[in-house]
């Protein structure tokens, strides 16, 4: 019996090693009580499968995405340039992250500032592991035959055209994937993007996450799968708002896979 390992880039570098892939944890993955469970689940999968990975640990800082979307380009670039310096110093080639906002920023916006990496979202990474047979799902787990709907994250879907990877991961669980009326290119935002996560909504007649949750619940799904920390928060709050938290779970893809793997 061995314990799970979470190597940092610094530890690896001091041993003269470099991992194949950097797992970019993100602020939500590091600090948000609920999303830490996703980070832990993903790290367990990486351990189990034997992926050569490392994290930046205390050296990681916010990508700057919310600052940029709120208009503060200076702050964004301060964060971005510092992160790029760290990643370039470790000669990072490939990055995987469980946050679509980090994914979008590092993939699309860091190159203009001197940081070019192959960046993939954890849904794509999980899909690859499943396709390669590295993650084996026995089926017959707790999700088998259940109705599950997937809520598209805007920064994964429309922003980067990743629609199929998370769905393939869910299908691998031997579940019934049901789509909401507004899905894929027409998916409705959870309400947190564009730095909305960090302020109260503007005056209106409804909260966006409630609107979206109603749509998700209307599918009759027993679980709402997400691939984004902000969506996870918003949809969880939405389900609570509708007093359905006892029957309907909001789960990240990595958590579902880890559960199915029994880890």
């Amino acid at each position: 019996m061995s314990t799970y390992k979470v190597p940092t880039m610094a530890e690896m570098a001091s041993n003269g090693k470099a991992p194949e892939v950097l797992f970019w944890v993100g602020c939500a993955g590091s600090f948000d009580e609920r999303y830490k469970a996703v980070t832990q689940a993903f790290v367990k999968i990486l351990n189990k499968v034997g992926v050569s990975f490392a994290v930046l640990g205390p050296e990681e800082t916010c990508t700057g995405d919310p600052a940029r979307r709120a208009g503060n380009e200076f702050l964004f670039q301060m964060q971005a340039v510092a992160n790029i310096q760290v990643m370039n110093a470790y000669e990072v080639k490939k990055v995987v992250t469980a946050c679509p906002h980090c994914f979008n920023t590092i993939k699309n916006e860091y190159p203009a500032l001197g940081g070019s990496y192959e960046v993939i979202h954890h849904s794509q990474f999980l899909q690859q592991l499943i396709n390669e047979g590295k993650v084996r799902l026995q089926g017959g787990g707790e999700f088998r035959g259940k109705k599950i709907t997937f809520h598209d994250s805007c920064y994964l879907g429309r922003a980067n055209n990743v629609y199929e990877a998370p769905r393939e991961v869910i299908r691998a669980l031997d579940v019934e994937l049901v789509e909401m009326k507004r899905c894929k290119t027409k998916g409705l935002c959870c309400g947190a993007g564009g730095a909305q996560m960090f302020k109260e909504p503007e005056p209106g007649n409804k909260d966006i996450n409630v609107e979206r949750t109603e749509e998700a619940l209307a599918t009759g799904a027993q679980a709402i799968a997400v691939g984004c920390p902000f969506c996870l928060t918003m949809m969880t709050d939405g389900v609570k708002n509708k007093n359905r938290e006892a029957e309907v779970k909001v789960l990240d893809l990595a958590e579902m896979i880890a559960k199915e793997m029994g880890i």
């Binding site: 600052a67 709120a70 979008n104 409705l188 302020k199």
Partner: protein
């Protein structure tokens, strides 16, 4: 036809051409009030995008019923304009149905096809009027359409209906006259649709029929010329600008925000990183972000002039759906209205951009900008690839960097990021604590 008619026709044609020319110059200048931006990369993909999205109406088909109705009007517009060529030549040379003798049977087929399209356009326009005014389709009845935009929309539909009726009237009277062997009217063979109008006109005398036929002809051609000029004042400009607008589409991932190199230089200097290109600093550092139309890329202003106010963006906008004071369509309308205002002021020798007004504040409020989730639903929804989001984000940049006017909760988020490198107020030294629990748990085999 007498030489006088020919002369009158040439004069009208010339006058219309002159006015159109002036209008095109006005629009072009207004669009170029925006900042220069070069977007000529991947020309093959750009032509392809234009062919699919503008010419092929690809994105219209996300909503099938309006797409089919629109397709009929669009094909009618493209094809019936071929007939206009004959109209113009007839007008200039004093001929009648110039192409008929050359095309023979094909002319009959073409005329029948034109009539089919004319009827299609007619039915579609009536359907659109009903959708707008009777069924009151949600996105066509939003507050930003009150007044001129609603009138503009209805006018366009009514004008198109009247123009199509003119074609059918002209063909019907023309064929009755040809049957009667009057003057130089040519029997072009059976015309299916206008034949239904025969009962209305059959009782009329030759002289009166000639009058009706000529009146319909003149009405149609003058109507088309007048409509072409009207279009330059109208949201209907999309019939032309959809093409360049899609050619200049953003081909990058939608999630990418454009970098601000002027900021990068300063950030690098602050972090002690050698700055490239320091030898040639930018000639003038403009504003950060956008306060007015001249701070936006010219492509954003082109976007605004290409917008036909269909409101598919607004119908998909999560902020709008939940009652927030944001409509991406209004953002586009505001940019266009402001460009028009500035353009007119410049032409009148007025202050132009320095009129004490600006896009931010006088047209678009902070509340609207702050309501956006940057979800790209509006960008995805637009049938001609307009990008309202880039305008919103540019304006947020101005508010944050020039006015320090962001909402206080965002300022708190900025402060957290500056001090603890996370949008939340957590100690940076706790960032890696999540791993403790994992490291303690044992791997099962």
């Amino acid at each position: 036809m007498s030489i006088l008619y020919q002369l009158a026709f040439v004069l009208i044609l010339g006058a219309a051409g002159y006015i159109l020319g002036k209008r095109i110059k006005f629009l072009r200048r207004n669009i170029l009030l925006g900042k220069p931006e070069t977007r000529n990369d991947q020309p093959e993909l750009r032509w392809k995008t234009m062919a699919l999205v503008a010419f092929g109406q690809q994105k219209m088909f996300k909503r099938v019923i309006p797409a089919l109705l629109h397709l009929l009007i669009y094909v009618g517009f493209l094809v019936i304009n071929l007939e206009v060529l004959e109209f113009v030549l007839d007008g200039v040379f004093g001929t009648h149905r110039l192409f008929a003798p050359y095309l023979g049977g094909a002319y009959t087929v073409a005329m029948n096809f034109f009539e089919f399209l004319a009827v299609g356009v007619l039915i579609s326009c009536v359907a659109f009027l009903i959708r707008r005014n009777v069924l009151k389709v949600g996105r066509l009845n939003k507050p930003e359409l009150k007044g001129w935009p609603a009138l503009d929309a209805n006018l366009i539909l009514v004008i198109e209906i009247v123009l199509m009726l003119a074609i059918l009237t002209m063909n019907a009277t023309d064929q009755i006259l040809a049957e009667r062997g009057v003057g130089n009217y040519i029997d072009v063979g059976p015309l299916f649709f206008s034949h239904f109008l025969f009962p209305i006109f059959e009782g009329l005398s030759d002289g009166f029929l000639v009058f009706v036929e000529r009146a319909a002809w003149w009405f149609h051609i003058i109507g088309i010329l007048a409509f072409a000029i009207y279009v330059t004042y109208s949201k209907h400009l999309h019939i032309f600008l959809a093409f360049p607008n899609t050619w200049y589409s953003n081909l990058k991932p939608k999630g990418e925000m454009k970098n601000m190199p002027e900021v990068t230089n300063e950030v690098n200097m602050m972090l002690g990183i050698p700055v490239e290109n320091q030898a040639d600093p930018p000639a003038e550092i403009g504003r950060f972000g956008a306060k007015d139309i001249n701070d936006l890329s010219w492509i954003s202003v082109l976007n605004a002039y290409s917008c036909t106010e269909c409101g598919r963006c607004t119908a998909e906008c999560p902020a709008n759906i939940t009652g927030k004071n944001l409509s991406p369509r209004k953002i586009m309308m505001d940019v266009r209205d402001r460009a028009e205002e500035v353009g007119k002021s410049i032409d009148a020798g007025g202050p132009g951009l320095e009129d004490g007004k600006s896009l931010l504040g006088d047209y678009i409020t902070k509340e609207e900008l702050n309501a956006c989730t940057s979800c790209n639903a509006c960008v995805e929804a637009c049938p001609v690839n307009i990008d309202p989001l880039s305008i919103i984000l540019q304006m947020r940049r101005y508010i944050a960097m020039e006015e320090s006017g962001t909402p206080s909760q965002w300022n708190a988020m900025f402060q957290n990021m500056e001090t603890s490198f996370s949008p939340w107020k957590f100690s940076p030294s706790d960032r890696f604590n999540w791993a403790d629990k994992v490291k303690e748990s044992e791997q099962s085999q």
